[in-house]
Amino acid sequence: MLASSVRSGTILLFPTIGEIFAERAGILNLGLEGMMVIGAFFGFVAGNLTKNPYIGFTIGMLAGGLAALIFAFVAITLKGNQIVAGLALTIFGLGITNFYGQKWINTKLAVPAQSIAIPGFANIPFIGPIFFNQDIFVYFSYVLAIAFWIILFRTKSGVYLRAVGENARAADAMGISVDRTRYFWTFVGGLLAGAGGAYLTIVYAPFWLDGITSGRGWIAVALVIFAMWDPLYAIIGAYLFGGIDSLQFQLQATGATIPSSLLSMQPYLLTLIVVIVATFIVRAKHIGVPRELALPFYREER
């Protein structure tokens, strides 16, 4: 049960970290849901055609990254409205996967990924089986969260990245290319959203259904606020929501007396409550929100 919370949380952890970085660079990409569903679909198809879940995962990531580049071109190069462009990306992702996905509906993944226990760690009582007897993608997400925290707060590129999101003009004067930084992190955000989606269809629910991400992209957008733009908090948030998600499945499976529609509603309702609380804390402590989030940068206007 707790091990499955970690798996369910991993679906959210990848896109949340990606979006944290994009937002830190001043880009609000609301196309998370679209990029996730693209990653989920193309990852699933590639995994099925090659019969290799690892190739599938990689292709899913790349597909998410490519989708992010469409957004980046519109939002960064052409300075289009980021909120609407993000929605357009979501509509695009749901549309294109519906278009190509018909013949894959209810197909099962040919070769699912295997769990690999980490020797030593997996034997730690309680924690071991939950965190260290998982598949390779979960380990990848641990490394990623920690590495990205280090990049963000302990390296020069992290400082540059934050500078671009806080005050693009000052960053530009320092000689940082605002557009290049934003492009790069939007692309990374797309890769990670694709990874989250691909993890969903390759490990968590190894089959294809139309719109299989069912709002997880939006929950991830909300988790960014919960995490206060910090990758380490994102781990807590993602596993918390993973826990709610898998709890709801367990309850439905055991045939509890609560109607299933109310159980299915839980993740969204709780996300809403958590966002309200998190927004409250963010505001009280004056932290977090990158100052120039969703504002385009016109270099020529000095």
Binding site: K79, A88, L272, V275
Partner: protein
């Protein structure tokens, strides 16, 4: 016939978007409107005069949708909760509320377990305007809504204040504009019209309430109002065009089994092109290198 809900929803959305209240929740507001009005269709005596019942249902649709949008507006006004996220999450919550009612209290016992309600009685159905079509009285609602929104935006103080809040909230605050009240009104109107669209769908087209209400119009309407550059008159015509695209999408899905997703791909591509193209309204491309005026080289 997809045009009627699109006209209604986008007329409301553009009002909210003008003041940069990003109501992405028309999907949920539409569902709530459909549910509120269905409540009266299913529970009021079928002998009530049609005029009264339809009026009550319209009001219920307006109120249901408005309530759902106002929740997000209040969250934003009191606690600065991002309305994009709250309206979106409220969409899913609305969907599962509908799911609950369709699998419980409202399911018709004779539906063989399908989540369908009883058919609405004749007096709960919107009258058809033209024979041999499905164009119903909702079109008149759409025309009225378009005109009202046009007048609101162009001719009233509210419309002007709305614009100021959207373009410069700080200036609006110092000018003494009541942001609280204006946001609530704009959110209420946009949610209300989405709710009315939901009412028009159940009362004019489906004649019952069920899981499949075509609430996706709530997302398409965002595209409509954006393509119309937030102009109510333009939005009326864009709604008819995109309504045609949607109807065509359903047609080719049924007759040629082309998946409906193609409509989303087309719509989002148009939107991307439009968003990108905005830049060229204010900026000019210059090829080659101009002399820099920057003192430091």
């Amino acid at each position: 016939m997809a045009a009627i809900p699109l006209i209604l929803i986008s007329a409301g959305l553009l009002l909210a978007f003008k003041m940069k209240f990003w109501n992405i929740g028309a999907y949920g507001q539409y569902i709530l409107g459909a549910m509120f009005s269905s409540f009266f269709a299913l529970h009021i005596s079928p002998h009530t005069p049609s005029f009264i019942l339809i009026t009550v249902m319209c009001l219920a649709g307006l109120v249901g949708g408005a309530l759902w949008a106002i929740i997000a507006a209040l969250l934003k006004l009191f606690w600065e909760v991002n309305e994009v996220i709250s309206t979106l999450l409220l969409n899913y919550i609305a969907l599962y509320i509908l799911d609950y009612f369709m699998h419980g209290p409202w399911r018709d016992p004779s539906s063989h377990g399908f989540p369908l309600s009883k058919s609405f009685a004749a007096n709960a159905r919107l009258p058809i305007l033209m024979h041999h079509t499905r164009i119903h009285l909702g079109l008149v609602f759409g025309i009225i809504a378009t005109i009202v929104i046009y007048i609101l935006i162009k001719k009233t103080k509210f419309g002007y204040e709305n614009k100021v809040i959207g373009e410069n909230p700080t200036a609006a605050k110092y000018a003494g504009i009541n942001i609280f009240r204006n946001t609530l009104i704009a959110a209420g109107i946009s949610g209300g019209l989405a709710g009315l669209a939901g009412m028009a769908q159940v009362s004019g087209i489906i004649h019952m309430i069920q899981m499949e209400l075509n609430a996706d119009y709530g997302y398409t309407a965002i595209i409509v109002s954006w393509l119309a550059a937030l102009n109510p008159i333009a939005s009326f015509f864009v709604a008819i065009i995109l309504g045609g695209l949607e109807a065509g999408g359903y047609q080719i899905q049924m007759t040629m089994s082309v998946p409906f997703g193609i409509v989303g791909v087309i719509e989002s591509s148009i939107l991307f092109a439009l968003l990108g193209g905005e830049l060229f309204k204010t900026h000019k491309l210059v090829f080659g290198r101009e002399k820099s005026h920057h003192p430091i080289q």
